[in-house]
């Protein structure tokens, strides 16, 4: 099974001397196509650093990050930017929607930056908005939408153009519990359709959508919880009787 994302003994330090912080201390992780992995841990445990490294937004101090088999450290700045745009989708707590652009334009933006024609980018954007259930809002501006709708636009932008790796940092942060559930169902569906997903969250209920939940403490993976099968799930209930 080939991993879409692979972290090999990755460490990351910030600062120097007295202020040296070991954000990650040798983390290895593989995420296969179709798999959703949740990362949990207290603040300062290295969750967000892990996500930044996975997306090529930061470089590791040592170790290697591979996206679809390509080591990011060997790439030129230009190629790295290309991988970030084409292979990786990001959903961050801070949505970063451009207020002057409509929903469809926001979603089409990464594809246009990537050189897709305006018409093709628009078509892909509408497809992505349809997938997240808000095709009818394509021509609305972010300020005229609810928080949940804006979050869906941000997710559509992360999914557009068939990204194989979706990285989400507290994507349900500011949403009410029902909208949060809907966002998680979307991420899950995207992974079931073949994407690899990494979700950073402090919310156990959302982490529970993942195939694996990885626990970070002080920059190390200390344990993980793996989903087994529906039969095993029913077995769990059996033990409650």
């Amino acid at each position: 099974m080939s991993a879409v994302l692979e972290l090999r003994a990755v460490t990351r330090q910030h600062g120097a001397g007295e202020g040296l912080v070991h954000a990650l201390r040798g983390v290895s992780l593989q995420v296969a196509a179709g798999e959703l992995v949740a990362v949990m841990g207290p603040s300062g445990s290295g969750k967000s650093t892990l996500l930044h490294l996975a997306g090529g937004l930061e470089a590791p101090t040592s170790g290697e990050v591979l996206v679809e088999g390509t080591a990011l450290s060997g790439l030129s700045r230009k190629r790295l930017a290309q991988v970030r745009r084409r292979a990786v989708g990001y959903v961050f707590q801070d949505l970063n929607l451009v207020p002057a652009l409509t929903a469809a334009e926001n979603v089409a933006l990464p594809r246009e930056l990537d050189g897709a024609g305006a018409r093709a980018a628009r078509r892909e954007a509408v497809e992505a908005l349809t997938e997240v259930g808000i095709a009818e809002l394509a021509d609305r501006f972010p300020d005229d939408m609810s928080g949940g709708q804006q979050q869906r636009v941000a997710i559509a932008r992360a999914l557009v153009g068939d990204r194989r790796l979706v990285l989400a940092d507290e994507p349900t942060g500011a949403l009410d519990s029902e909208t949060g559930e809907a966002v998680m169902a979307l991420l899950r569906a995207r992974c079931d359709a073949g994407a690899a997903g990494v979700l950073v969250t402090h919310d156990a209920r959302h982490a529970a959508w993942a195939d694996r939940v990885v626990f970070l403490r002080d920059g190390r993976v200390v344990d993980e919880s793996v989903y087994r099968s529906p039969e095993a799930a029913l077995g769990t209930l059996g033990s409650l009787r």
Partner: protein, 191 residues
């Protein structure tokens, strides 16, 4: 859990056979009853005048129906809140309360082992919920939701315990009881 009231509730919808009561109870609550439990409870209910068995059918299958007395007992059950005292003792809280004082117990590891197990259960419930039908499986979904929220609360409580432990150890005078809190669990876990 009250088998007695469960059966009364199912009989309040319509008369049913014992085997049907058992199957329906399991379908809605995910909680299994054995045949013996069902028939013992039915005969007690009949003795107490809460149900009446009608027409010993073929193969000895009686159909049971709710009586007015049974309906009243059921009404009382539904309208009376479940008291916290009537629930079983919380083994986990008791275990942790004893762990913090016990020598040579790695409390953070105890917390993490529990957290991993609770998350796995949450993963199970979440998948079962995703497979259920919003209308046909309404009763079952309510039970699953209850399990999800209880387990989520447990995980939050475990996080809280860990933070409290770190604070307490930082505040305690140095000594054997104030060993530094280690990162819990197995190291270098990967698949």
């Amino acid at each position: 859990m009250s088998v007695r009231h469960g059966l009364l509730a199912l009989l309040s919808e319509r008369p049913r056979h014992g085997y049907e009561l058992r199957a329906e109870f399991e379908r809605r609550t995910g909680s299994a009853l054995n045949v013996g439990q069902v028939y013992t409870t039915l005969s007690r209910l009949e003795r107490d005048g809460a149900v009446v068995g009608t027409g010993d059918g073929e193969e000895g299958r009686s159909t049971y129906a709710l009586t007015p007395a049974g309906a009243e007992e059921l009404h009382d059950w539904f309208t009376t809140p479940v008291t916290r005292e009537s629930r079983p003792r919380d083994e986990l809280a008791i275990k942790l309360a004893l762990a913090v004082g016990a020598p040579e117990v790695d409390v953070p590891a105890v917390l993490q082992a529990q957290r991993t197990d609770s998350l796995r259960a949450l993963q199970d419930y979440t998948r079962l919920k995703a497979r259920a039908d919003a209308v046909d499986d309404l009763a079952w979904l309510l039970v699953l939701d209850a399990l999800v929220f209880q387990t989520e609360a447990e995980v939050r409580w475990l996080d809280h315990c860990e933070a409290r432990l770190v604070r307490a150890r930082a505040a305690a005078p140095p000594g054997p009881a104030a060993a530094p809190v280690r990162a819990p669990g197995r190291e270098g876990v990967r698949r």
